[in-house]
């Protein structure tokens, strides 16, 4: 594994090395390794139940790894969780904006918790709301927002404190095609503007293809393959293949498989709240 900053012109912001995590008898993540550089968007691609969310939660310091090591911005996620939290933004899969507050209040609370003060806070909140095209509806209660607006608000919340790394768990699940495209555009803009390292999990092939410079194909807790979409197609000897076919090639199964009752319920609940 590369040491932080070793690669010419880049800094490795996320390093995952042989990560394991199980829940009871179920081993959700089995020895996964990958890295993400500054300004790079990396996609973890896999069906429901592949272990994507578990990996993101370990990187966001919500779960402790059982074995292996993960570092974000050079800090160990288990031993230096406080430092890690200072340099990450996290958008969970379920809808995390508070519907009983306005968009502005959602931002204000997070900005205060991030320690932003006075005019700097005002400026930053206004700047991020503008970046996500939410200025006009900032005074409305979030429960009146469309699904795409809620997602953009959550991304806005997650980047308030200038994080260097952004984790998004299924950012467009349940969104209609237009809203999805807007979220994609905003993520690409963030990646360009702030040169953040961005990790998204998805089970949409078109999403991975549209956004990610590299993808990791995850199946049943194992990283079956990782690389640029082009390199993966190359490797299977069919440059014209779709990512769907790439996934089938490397895992021997298709994206429709996998998932369990609890995850399905979670996805449905999120979709329902998105209306």
């Amino acid at each position: 594994m590369r040491a932080t900053g070793e690669k010419e012109g880049f800094t490795v912001l996320v390093e995952v090395d042989d990560l394991y995590r199980s829940f009871g008898d179920n081993v959700a993540v089995k020895g996964v390794s990958f890295t993400i550089d500054t300004g790079e968007m990396f996609g973890l691609l896999g069906p429901n139940g592949a272990g994507k969310t578990t990996i993101v939660r370990m990187l966001a310091t919500l779960l402790r790894p059982e074995r292996g090591r993960a570092a974000v911005c050079g800090f160990d996620v288990a031993r230096q969780a406080g430092r890690v939290r200072q340099c990450i933004g996290y958008v969970p899969q379920a809808l995390s904006a508070d519907g009983s507050l306005t968009g502005y209040e959602n931002m204000l609370i997070l900005a205060k918790l991030a320690g932003l003060r006075g005019t700097q806070r005002q400026r930053r909140v206004a700047e991020v709301l503008a970046l996500m095209q939410l200025e006009d509806c900032a005074g409305r209660l979030v429960r009146t927002y469309s699904g795409g607006m809620v997602r953009r608000l959550e991304i806005a919340q997650a980047v308030l404190h200038y994080p260097r790394v952004l984790f998004l768990d299924e950012p467009t699940v349940g969104l209609d095609p237009v809203a999805r495209r807007t979220v994609w555009d905003k993520l690409a803009e963030l990646s360009r503007a702030y040169r953040m390292a961005i990790l998204i999990t998805t089970h949409y092939m078109d999403e991975a293809e549209a956004l990610c410079s590299r993808v990791g194909i995850l199946n049943r807790g194992v990283m079956a393959a990782a690389g640029t979409p082009a390199a993966l197609k190359e490797e299977m000897g069919r440059p014209e293949a779709t990512l769907d076919e790439v996934f089938a090639h490397f895992t021997g199964s298709n994206l429709e498989e996998g998932g369990n009752y609890r995850e399905l319920r979670q996805v449905r609940r999120t979709s329902r709240r998105l209306g």
Binding site: R57, S100, L101, T102, L113, E154
Partner: protein, 274 residues
């Protein structure tokens, strides 16, 4: 910066320690502010929450005033029970916070907060303090009602302020208790069941409706271990009898209970998401 479980091994000098303590305190207030903002957007809950104490005071209180079953130390029964009803409604409000964090887990709010650069003990204390703020709104409603129906209370400002402080402390204890339960049972359905099983016995095994002296000995022992009794005792002294001899003891017991519950809740809180 770090919660206990994730404490960094590096040596900590005094200055960052002061800064993180200040940051933790500021975060507690921000979380409580969030609660106040929600209440401002939808104040109807304040009224629906007031229905139950109103019924207790008006119906139960009036009927039992006629019975004169208990030796209340020369105090009219409705005045005797008002601190009990106030304490009960504070406890019910605070217990609701356990369901709230399960709900926040389900909609992802909790996950987002756990990934923030905020000390986790501040997240727990913030929720508890928010319960305290709600408890105060409840106290205002119950006391206003008591004034309207002519319950003879002592309206002595320093004691009223002390009572407010103790109500906040009690709310914080019960909010922490309910977050502990939430972290253990993890689903709303199970929490509802457990919540019922816990709140009613706590209420009846306390001095809220009757003096401890009329209880059978075994119940007196339970009442002695029940934090609700200490809250009622303090509020009764401050609002009704003016006898605050046990006041420092009551406040101390509640403070210790609150600190212990905060410690356990802080340890269990991140596990709600697993």
């Amino acid at each position: 910066m770090n919660s206990g479980r994730y404490a960094a091994p590096a040596a900590v000098s005094a200055e960052p320690l002061v800064r993180s303590a200040w940051q933790a305190l500021a975060s507690v207030l921000v979380i409580a502010e969030m609660e106040v903002r929600k209440l401002r957007h939808d104040p109807t809950e304040l009224l629906t929450r007031a229905v139950q104490p109103v019924l207790w005071l008006l119906i139960f209180g009036q009927v039992f005033s006629r019975v004169r079953a208990f030796n209340t130390g020369g105090v009219p029964y409705q005045a005797f029970m008002t601190p009990g009803i106030l304490s009960q409604s504070v406890m019910f409000i605070a217990i609701f916070f356990g369901i709230a964090i399960i709900w926040e887990r389900d909609v992802g709010i909790l996950q987002k907060f756990l990934a923030l650069p905020v000390p986790r003990v501040a997240l727990v204390l913030g929720k508890a303090f928010a319960a305290g703020v709600r408890a105060l709104t409840q106290a205002v409603i119950v006391l206003a009602l008591a004034a309207v129906i002519g319950v003879p209370l002592r309206w002595y400002l320093p004691d009223l302020l002390a009572a407010a402080g103790v109500a906040v402390l009690g709310a914080m204890f019960f909010a922490n208790l309910s977050m502990i339960i939430a972290a253990l049972v993890k689903t709303r359905e199970r929490f509802m069941g457990i919540g019922q099983v816990i709140t009613m016995p706590l209420f009846f095994a306390s001095n809220a409706l009757y003096p401890v002296s009329v209880m059978p000995p075994w119940l007196q022992v339970v009442s002695l271990a029940n934090p609700l009794s200490y809250m009622v005792d303090f509020l009764r002294g401050a609002l009704v009898t003016g006898q605050l001899g046990h006041g420092p003891l009551d406040a101390a017991v509640l403070t210790v209970a609150c600190a212990a519950a905060t410690a356990v809740a802080h340890y269990l809180y991140p596990r709600v998401i697993i």
